[in-house]
Symmetry: C2
Subunit: 187 residues, 2 copies
């Protein structure tokens, strides 16, 4: 049996720890019996509580309509161990390919949404559409993270950060300047 | 005389190369004779052309009103060489401190906006407010990058990616999977 990272519940107000550094993520969706996965690098944290994130999901993606119609998705965090899978997912379309099957990924049932989590990823954040006001004009979806699952170790896995043109920066090393922060700036 | 990175004009449609990886940035502003600088990790690319970026600038920041009133800012990219400066800027307020002077930074005149560029940074992106529709509700500003300046080398400097709690991930190493991309996915 395949060994998947064992994920634990994680506070939704702290998902910035994984998303603020700007990694490429895999967004999984479900609509009318079909699932899909897309790569996404255009996202930002918007608020701690409620836990809001903004995702620019281009209307050219097969996932766009599925996510718009279902009002849900899961944001999954891949590590550098999944680099070729990430590239493969970004270079195929869910209109032609069942991505879980093609890339041999494990669909795990989520708690709060019908979109599946990707078992191989380090973290999965279940999201429900919070505000669609900017979707028509900018393809910009504002989601609330309603449930978060994170592997307990490593605390900061090596992640991929897309630069365009087929190249990724890798982040992994961590430096702390905690002692230089005012207490109210931490947390 | 201090040696500053020599920056060249860079295509505004390609600023994703530096911003999509999700680095912490220094946002400089100018309003009614005063300047300010803030650290910011909550940003996303929204479009190639026009070159749109979205920035969540909390209303608790002194910069918020300056940027809202002037409709302008400069997004500057610091490298790991500036780590302590970045932390210092994030832990002081422009209401009490002249940040260029306190942190011994060089204010350079921009071409298209009145906000100053930070000479010590690797890149500076001049921005004009494009859409303020989400400012009231989410403190989310959509800017157009109207002019970009980037140091010619290194192509991918070591950058800081904030995780919260006083800790940064460092990205620097680059891996390319260009050969695995469909041609229309590159660029």
């Amino acid at each position: 049996m395949r060994k998947l990272p064992k994920k634990r519940d994680f506070p939704v107000s702290q998902v910035r720890r994984y998303l603020e550094p700007g990694p490429i993520v895999l967004v999984s969706s479900h609509h009318e019996g079909a699932t899909n996965i897309m790569t996404l690098g255009w996202h930002t944290i918007l608020e701690f509580s409620p836990s809001l994130v903004g995702l620019m999901i281009s209307s050219g993606n097969h996932s766009h309509e599925m996510i718009r119609a279902s009002g849900e998705c899961v944001i999954n965090l891949p590590t550098t161990a999944m680099t070729d899978t990430v590239v493969g997912i970004g270079n195929t379309t869910g209109a032609q390919v069942d991505k879980f099957s093609r890339f041999d990924l494990t669909a795990q049932e989520a708690n709060e949404v019908d979109a599946p989590m990707i078992g191989e990823c380090h973290a999965s954040f279940e999201c429900r559409l919070h505000d669609a006001a900017m979707v028509e004009k900018y393809n910009f979806f504002i989601f609330e993270v309603v449930k978060a699952h994170v592997a307990s170790s490593p605390k900061h896995p090596e992640t991929l950060h897309y630069t365009g043109d087929g190249a990724f920066m890798v982040a992994g090393k961590v430096i702390s300047r905690r002692s230089l922060f005012r207490p109210e700036m931490l947390g």
